[in-house]
Symmetry: C2
Subunit: 694 residues, 2 copies
């Protein structure tokens, strides 16, 4: 027991170190040159807009968290005595504990996201200013700012999980923490995704097409909302997204560790193993992050990839040493290694489909000269094909981690969970490289809006290109990790049901399971559609308002009158938040409905259907979107007629279609299936006790 | 036994009557006025093109059928003695029987498709000519021609199944017949789908956009290929598609009837029940078809729907009487009725998403004024939502038919199969109404090409609109039926494996099953992508050739020189056929690979994954495609700026994207999952005996 507690304390210590490193980087960023008055003015609009959105978002989420927290407090005070017998006792202490864990999870995720946003909006303008001097300086600034989010996130997560495990001694409470984090992630990601694309479409449609002013022109009333969108969607949303997978994978393994065929002493150890892996990953990430630098004249892309590879190798060595010297089953090493390798392989294959050096992007660009329809059919088709290598990677990782673990006498399902944790343990580094992308993207926008030199824009473009490659790899990583995580959560769900004394048989030969799978399978498409329709619907309101401002105040276009940016920020925020009601119900309500009505087996099928179809759609939408974006950029480099050609016009249509695919619907699906899996595991004992059929 | 044989003979008799009716309608059509010399000349080009394609298609298929037939003859001569022991005996008689059944199935399906095509190309020109006189006359002609395909198809199918059952006495041999029919359907449907859209894109792109001549202008070298495409894709392909579901659903029930918990005497009876249902459906269809007519001044749409509804009601009554008086378990009635109702409900909800009287089409048309990207995002989103009601309908039909059957002491899985048979038994009527659509569509093309009066075009348009509504309902019907069929086939697969003495556990808790599901889930998207990419790639070759002809022979555009239509027909044919290799391997080879390597449980998971994702993609692609098509047509009626407006241009892009969705990929997915399910059931005993893992 002592050594176990020591591990937990060490994990907390690693979390504290991680947060301290994040804070010191934050203050370092804040100390950098904030730039000219004009640049600061532009940045202040974005900062104000981002704050306005976050205040609205967190207020809504705060209320929602309290409501759900209250429901959890009540429901988890009900203890079913014997499954199916309908006899209950009340046990308020448990209800209140679960409720607090839930709220703590939501709060931790919010804090990490808020910190990331906060540093991002400060770093944007400073990066633009640094790019006046040199590429290496601008790179260092933006990467360090990204690392604030990465390190804060993993730090908050490991402290939260460890503290709850110490306090309550039960992984079930950590499940509550994870659920809180996931609910927040879902709304932050989906809300941010709607926000960012709504603003993007409105700014482009009225500004570029109707009025004919360039992108990021400060005369465009929607331009601030657009820039705020990049921060809320890409930085805060993505941070919350990986926070959620990170915690969910660890908690799935904890639940499995506490229940699958271990002795009492082993149970404790294997419950804590995922925390140790997270801790090792944090140390590896700190080393990797500190080694990322670009000398003048070097390309920034390889530096980011080098950081990821070094972190991966260091983590693998740590893992080996840990397993070897602390008498942990070697299956943990092999499963963890499988996850790591699968993550990298999935990342690289995703890159093939979205990188302009390979056939899919080039071919999509080439056919664009025959019109936008052919561009869309071709890009969509390659998006469909891009599912294949990732799915094979996920299937292989599942099988290898399972059988490698079984080979060493470790539960195979536990091994699958470990492979997800292995993949995600280096999230500190991954998120740092990913958050760098939107920061340089926004720096470019600010440079444009503040009328900086052309050289600055060129440097910002070079930084941005590196960000895009990093992003493609991260995206594959996060989808792969989410898939393995939900498979582990699925196993955890089955364990919790079995522990409740109900025979679980999620067999595809059972009609209730088949019906459940069908219902689950339709959920990711429906969810995606609701988010995308929210984008187009809300965009119409913003378009109207942007047109109105141009029409009623001629000074705006003349450049003598500052537009009412705040009004459009507010429209985008409100639109995004009110559109979340139905998707949120789908995520939380539908699994409960299926579980309480059709029973635990049908709910198992439901989760299966949602997971399989969810992974497929997440890959399709993310990759197709990235592919269209890069096909357009490839043409903009002068290929197939270059900017302004028919091919370019067609590619712009593809890119616009791809925007809500890759930035709104695609990345939210991961979180959707995580939330559905968590809510099912959390309510599993109650569902096992009370259900209408099955 | 005697009464059983009597039922089989009666089924054969119904088949003979059906074919006789088809032939008499065929000769009636041939006797109608073939029109002016010019119209006949135009029709002769299309006829020659269609024949050229069919000769190529059937030659390739003939060779393929012989090769697969030979493989089947060899493989099915191997009899595993005991599962897993690896001891085999050779039993050539069985191999040859199976091989003959397979070839017979492919041949029957080909004959039905050929007859349908043959009457369609003759009916096109005659319908155009009849439209010179009156709408009712043209309607009668085209509907009767459609009925030739419908009646020939169900006749061939029931005779084939009954004869094989009589000859061999085993449903397994009927499985071979069904597999032959499905392989042919897959290639006819996918090949026709590629052909038709390749030709369509080439004709539109060069003719309408580059050269600026109207649709269906005889100066366009690709115009004949385009018109041929409508026949091969819509008539022959669709006929083969429903033939395949029709036979597959019946054979699934036969396999289940022969193996699921019946006494010996009952087994015989319940093996023959699906044939009786098909027979009753044929009689009901004959009555329904004979009642479809339009008086002058009436709309043709309601007449078609009336025919379907009357057929449905008559069939339900027949079913009730049959079950009541021949001592069949009442579960058969309720399950069959469930299938019928589900089919109608799914058809009607599909209609909601593709009919211009409802929100999805109208809203997609409305937003088109903001550009093609918004049109595509909106249409795609509604396509995603359109999955929901159909999937709920399928899930409900599965549950209700299962539990209704169990309630009466009938095997629930058998009930699911009966619901699919119930849905499909009225295929004679459904196919007749569906085949009517492309005939009037082509009649319109011929009228245009032959320079007939404007009035004829208007009448043809009115006939066409009715065809589109019928088509939407049929499409929902066929996807719903295919889903229930593959669920039944899935159950049949599990039964055959269990009969081979191997414990089958398709549980989502098993990693091999999960890996199988992932692999199966990626197959329909990959398959769709290959078909769609084949369309765009082949279209490029045709575009080049069309441009070349215009360039090298100025007389073509001047109208003094007939273009080389045959060259483009041949390009389209060869392109379509050579593109089929990989998709065909996916359908047949991948399930066998998964089965022999990962074992029967993984193959069960594979089928499950393919079925669930396949249904989702089939619904999405068919409905989104139909929606875009009708949004464009809605604008063409003068809404939102009418033809030539920005909204119209945007909607044309959506329509072009939707074309390969709804006519190439979407409808082929049904057949893909049927083929995969059949090949798995057929090889199940061998897979049970020999597999590497699992």
């Amino acid at each position: 027991m002592n050594i176990i507690n020591n591990w937990i304390y060490t994990a907390i210590a690693a979390g504290v170190v991680s947060i301290a490193a994040a804070l010191s980087l934050y203050f370092w960023v804040m100390k950098q040159e904030p730039g000219t008055e004009r640049a600061q003015e532009v940045a202040s609009w974005i900062k104000a807009g981002a704050n306005a959105y976050l205040v609205k978002l967190y207020r809504s989420l705060g209320i929602l968290a309290l409501v759900i927290g209250l429901i959890i407090a009540i429901i988890f005070s009900i203890q079913p005595e014997t499954a199916g017998a309908g006899i209950v006792t009340l046990y308020f202490r448990k209800g209140i504990t679960m409720s607090l864990c839930f709220i703590f999870g939501a709060f931790s995720s919010a804090i990490a996201g808020y910190l990331g946003m906060r540093v991002a909006v400060e770093a944007n303008v400073r990066t633009a200013t640094a790019a006046n001097f040199s590429l290496s300086k601008a790179f260092k600034l933006s990467f360090n700012a990204g690392a604030v989010l990465g390190l804060a996130m993993v730090g908050m997560a490991i402290i939260g999980m460890s503290a709850i495990l110490l306090w309550t001694g039960t992984p079930e409470a950590v499940l509550g923490f994870s659920f809180g984090a996931s609910i927040l992630a879902l709304l932050a990601k989906a809300g941010g995704g709607i926000y960012t694309k709504t603003a993007d479409i409105a700014a482009d449609l009225v500004g570029k097409i109707e009025v004919g002013i360039p992108e990021d022109d400060p005369r465009n009333p929607a331009v601030v909302a657009d820039n705020v969108g990049d921060n809320v969607g890409d930085v805060a949303g993505m941070g919350a997204d990986i926070f959620d997978s990170y915690v969910a994978s660890a908690v799935a393994v904890m639940v499995l560790g506490a229940s699958i065929g271990f002795t009492q002493a082993e149970q404790l150890k294997y419950t804590v193993v995922p925390l140790v892996l997270c801790m090792l990953g944090i140390v590896a990430s700190l080393i990797g992050i500190s080694l990322v630098r670009v000398k003048e004249g070097q390309k920034p892309g390889p530096a980011l990839n080098r950081g990821t590879i070094i972190t991966t190798i260091i983590f693998a060595i740590f893992l080996f040493v840990f397993v070897r010297f602390w008498d942990v089953n070697p299956g943990v090493f092999w499963a963890g290694l499988t996850g790591l390798i699968a993550g990298v392989v999935i990342g690289i294959t995703s890159d093939y489909f979205t990188n302009d050096q390979f056939k899919p992007v080039q071919e999509t660009a080439r056919v664009s000269s025959s019109g936008s329809a052919i561009n869309i059919i071709t890009g969509y088709s390659y998006g469909l094909i891009s599912i294949v290598p990732s799915v094979i990677g996920i299937a292989a990782a599942t099988l290898i981690s399972f059988y490698a673990s079984e080979h060493f006498g470790l539960s195979g399902v536990y091994g699958i969970g470990i492979s997800a944790v292995g993949m995600l343990s280096i999230s500190g580094m991954i998120v740092s490289a990913d958050a760098y992308g939107p920061i340089v993207d926004n720096a470019r926008g600010i440079a444009e809006m503040a009328g900086m030199d052309h050289e600055v824009i060129v440097r910002a473009d070079e930084l941005d290109a590196a960000g895009n490659t990093a992003k493609a790899i991260t995206k594959g990583f996060s989808i792969g990790a989410a898939a393995l995580t939900v498979i582990a959560l699925f196993a955890a769900y089955a364990e919790v049901i079995a522990d409740s004394g109900v025979m679980i048989a999620i067999s595809l030969k059972e009609p209730l399971v088949v019906a459940g799978v069908f219902l689950g399978a339709m959920t990711p498409p429906l969810f995606s559609a609701l988010l995308m329709l929210a984008v187009t619907e809300n965009a119409f309101g913003m378009i109207e308002e942007t047109r109105r401002q141009f029409r009623e105040e001629p000074g705006i276009l003349a450049g003598t009158h500052t537009p009412d940016y705040a009004r459009l920020v507010s429209l985008a925020s409100e639109g995004a938040l009110t559109s979340l009601a139905t998707p949120a119900f789908l995520a939380v309500g539908l699994p409960l409905l299926v579980g309480f009505v059709l029973g635990p087996n049908a709910l198992g099928g439901f989760l299966g259907g949602a997971i399989f179809v969810g992974v497929i759609f997440a890959l399709l939408m993310s990759n197709a979107g990235g592919l269209w974006d890069n096909a357009k950029k490839y043409i903009e480099t002068g290929k197939f007629g270059g900017p302004g050609s028919d091919a370019h016009k067609a590619a712009v249509v593809g890119d616009t279609v791809g925007d809500p695919f890759k930035d709104t619907a695609g990345p939210s699906i991961n979180t959707l299936i995580t939330v559905m899996s968590l809510v099912s595991s959390l309510f599993a004992p109650l569902i096992a006790a009370f259900h209408l059929f099955g």
